[in-house]
């Protein structure tokens, strides 16, 4: 098989996007969607066909992109098990999301722009995944940022949507800055941007420099993956259409940070401090986001915070050194989160465009199938025993637990507590949306079949995703770990393992029971300050407003008034005004009277004669 076939993976979505962008407005409506879906499904097909190439790790170069001054960056792909896993997941989930989007956006204008951006989004994500050097990866990294900006602000006519897009773009850009510095620094230290080479030669690096390097990389990953402290953009990113949210949260964008750390894991793992920071950032974000999700009222915001929380788990997994657990959770999460988001989109349609879960309720009777599918997603998210989410989360917590020192035990504790919270808010969402009486005023829309029938495959994958990396304990073979070639999950005594499992089960129930008690028959919630604090995401937006935006605005205004208006305008306009003033005086000399001019001559003559006389006298 020609390994250059791999380029089709990226080129198909690119072509779809470009064609839709250039000619989409002239194509008939169904064709635009079909083209976009075809491009992604084609890419998925290519990924399936090329899967055998991944086992050995194929490198293929199309041409040299940049060369000179010691820098050599190819348009080259690295298709190894890690990349192959991600590519299959991204193209697979994105295919379903595209089909769903065709149904969801049926009656919207601007389909060409939407589908072009959607295709380019996937293309940029594949570029991140497949790049064999950091520069090409960075290209995809920025591409994802641009496309997310365009998609989050898709309904730009409403200014808060446009603002949300801008916020996502700018906040992730702060992370990108760290990544850029790390990239350039790595190049100056090692003289190469090739990922495989960097990983191979990471041990040559000065250990003192490793920690800042890893922290810079973490900064980049935090921006894209919405981890503390760069997480404020994600809840606002809900402004985009639901398929976009599904794509951002499940397949692309937020997983890019986790993937970056996994890709450079040989480098990252050399710095114990860096690893500890990654793990703590992950654990703290997981806790933070879960606590916020408890109080949210908008269905998509609950899911957004849950994404942030689950990505936190993935960071925790990377931080405690288990790439396989991180990727496993990433995959399973992608399936059930896409399921939940797409389900949420369908629910919003059912409730007549209502976002507020307090005004939903009783939707189970309206569409039972949707209820069962959503239930699967909720169970996976909550980590109900034997679902995919349970196994992947368990593997992460096990990896943290098996480290055995106080620090990771602390992180483990946070993780377990967060699992309980997750269970609570998941069931809160479920009960509020599906049970009780319908509390909304709006009449529901009819659902397009595309909105429901794209969900079952995701539900299946979410439910049975645990089989991918089933630990030996359950008679599995940890297929994913072997496939990725990473260290197997640490072995702990069976008694401990059973104890941990029971504990996880207990926390699941501990989350479920209060949710059942409070929200099974929902009568309304008191608006306490504490709840409002959580609803506003711990008021981080206000904090950033206070410590960053306000000083920034103040500085900007100062520069404008003192620097621009005062200094620059003062000098330029002042110079002109002085000239004008003096010119007015000189102007009076030009009377146009001949005798006046001649008088000038005469005085000049007198002056010259006087001067000559003076010279003669001396």
């Amino acid at each position: 098989m020609d390994s250059r076939l791999l380029f089709l993976l990226i080129l198909l979505p690119l072509a779809g996007g470009v064609i839709n962008a250039c000619f989409g407005c002239r194509l008939p409506r169904p064709l635009v969607a079909l083209l976009a879906i075809g491009a992604i499904v084609g890419s998925f097909g290519v990924a399936l066909v090329c899967l055998p190439l991944a086992a050995e790790g194929t490198r293929v170069t199309l041409f040299t992109w940049l060369a000179g001054a010691g820098l050599k960056a190819d348009i080259g792909l690295l298709f190894d098990p890690l990349a192959a896993t991600m590519v299959l997941m991204v193209t697979g989930v994105a295919s379903l999301i595209h089909v769903y989007a065709a149904g969801y956006m049926e009656h919207e204008d601007d389909q060409a722009r939407f589908f072009a951006l959607l295709n380019l989004f996937v293309c940029a994500m594949l570029c991140i995944i497949l790049a064999d050097n950091l520069l090409l990866l960075f290209l995809g990294w920025e591409g994802v940022g641009v496309c997310s900006y365009g998609l989050i602000g898709f309904w730009y006519a409403k200014s808060e949507n446009a603002l949300a897009g801008r916020k996502a773009f700018i906040v992730t850009r702060i992370g990108d800055l760290f990544f850029t510095v790390a990239l350039l620094w790595l190049f100056s230290l090692l003289g190469t941007v090739n990922i495989a080479e960097i990983n191979l030669r990471a041990t040559e690096l000065n250990p003192a420099l490793l920690t800042p390097l890893v922290l810079l990389l973490l900064g980049g990953a935090c921006g894209k993956s919405a981890q503390l402290p760069l997480m404020t953009w994600l809840p606002d990113a809900m402004a985009g259409p639901t398929p976009v949210s599904a794509l951002i949260h499940a397949a692309t964008m937020v997983t890019a940070g986790v993937y970056l750390l996994c890709r450079l894991f040989p480098l990252v793992s050399l710095s114990p401090v860096g690893m500890a920071v990654i793990a703590s950032v992950g654990a703290l974000t997981a806790l933070y986001a879960a606590s916020c999700a408890v109080a949210q009222r908008e269905i998509k915001r609950v899911l957004a915070y849950s994404t942030m929380s689950q990505i936190g788990y993935m960071f925790l997994a990377v931080g405690v050194g288990s790439v396989a657990a991180a990727i496993d959770h990433l995959l399973v999460h992608a399936f059930f989160k896409a399921l939940l988001f797409m389900g949420a989109g369908a629910l919003i349609h059912l409730a007549g465009g209502e976002n507020d879960i307090f005004k939903m309720g009783g939707l189970k009777r309206k569409n039972p199938l949707l209820f069962w599918l959503f239930l699967v997603g909720i169970l996976c998210l909550a980590g109900a025993p034997l679902t995919g989410g349970f196994f992947s989360k368990d593997a992460i917590l096990l990896a943290a637990f098996s480290h055995g020192n106080g620090f990771s035990a602390c992180l483990w504790g946070i993780g377990v507590f967060t699992a309980g919270l997750t269970s609570f808010y998941s069931f809160r969402l479920l009960y509020l949306v599906f049970f009780g009486e319908y509390r909304g005023e709006k009449a529901g829309h009819k659902l397009s079949p595309l909105l429901v029938w794209t969900l079952p495959p995701l539900a299946l994958f979410g439910l049975f995703g645990g089989l991918l990396n089933l630990p030996h304990f359950y008679g599995g073979h940890e297929m994913l770990s072997h496939w990725l070639g990473s260290a197997a999950t640490a072995e702990v005594p069976p008694a401990t393992e059973v104890g941990l499992l029971v504990l996880m089960g207990l926390f699941f129930v501990a989350g479920w029971v209060p949710a059942h008690l409070f929200y099974r028959n929902f009568k309304g919630e008191a608006d306490t300050p504490w709840r409002r604090f959580l609803l506003q995401g711990w008021r981080f937006d206000a904090l950033y407003e206070l410590i960053i935006l306000r000083p920034y605005r103040f500085t900007a205004r100062f520069c404008f008034i003192a620097g621009d208006k005062g200094l620059i305008d003062g000098v330029v306009e002042g110079l002109g005004r002085t000239m004008l003033h003096w010119g007015g005086y000189f102007r009076q000399l030009a009377t146009g009277q001949v005798s006046f001019y001649l008088q000038g001559f005469a005085w000049g003559l007198l002056l010259m004669l006087g001067w000559l006389l003076l010279q003669a006298a001396v």
Binding site: F586, G592, S595, L598
Partner: protein, 101 residues
């Protein structure tokens, strides 16, 4: 030389000054032209005097040229005066201030 050179210079200066005053002070274009003529003649007088003092013919030759030049100048100037008069029906120099800034 029968007339002392200093006397001649004083006379020429007075003539020149009178001409200059006429140019600067008079409003009538023709009077200004006359003033210019007087100034030119003052210069001519100095040239002739100098020529006589140093026994050099150059000065007198120059004065011949000066006379030719003056007659040409006067004819052009008067033609212009006629033209200007036709434009504004006046020879008052104050009427011609188009160069005013």
């Amino acid at each position: 030389m029968i007339v002392p050179f200093q006397h001649l210079l004083v006379l020429a200066s007075i003539l020149f000054f009178l001409g200059l005053m006429s140019v600067l002070v008079r409003r009538n274009l023709i009077m200004i032209l006359i003033g210019v003529e007087i100034m030119l003649n003052a210069a001519g007088l100095v040239l002739v005097g100098g020529s006589a003092l140093w026994h050099q013919l150059d000065g007198q030759v120059l004065v011949i040229f000066l006379m030719a030049l003056t007659s040409a100048e006067v004819s052009i100037s008067l033609a212009m005066v006629v033209y200007l008069n036709r434009r504004k029906q006046t020879v008052d120099v104050r009427a011609f201030d188009e160069l005013r800034g």
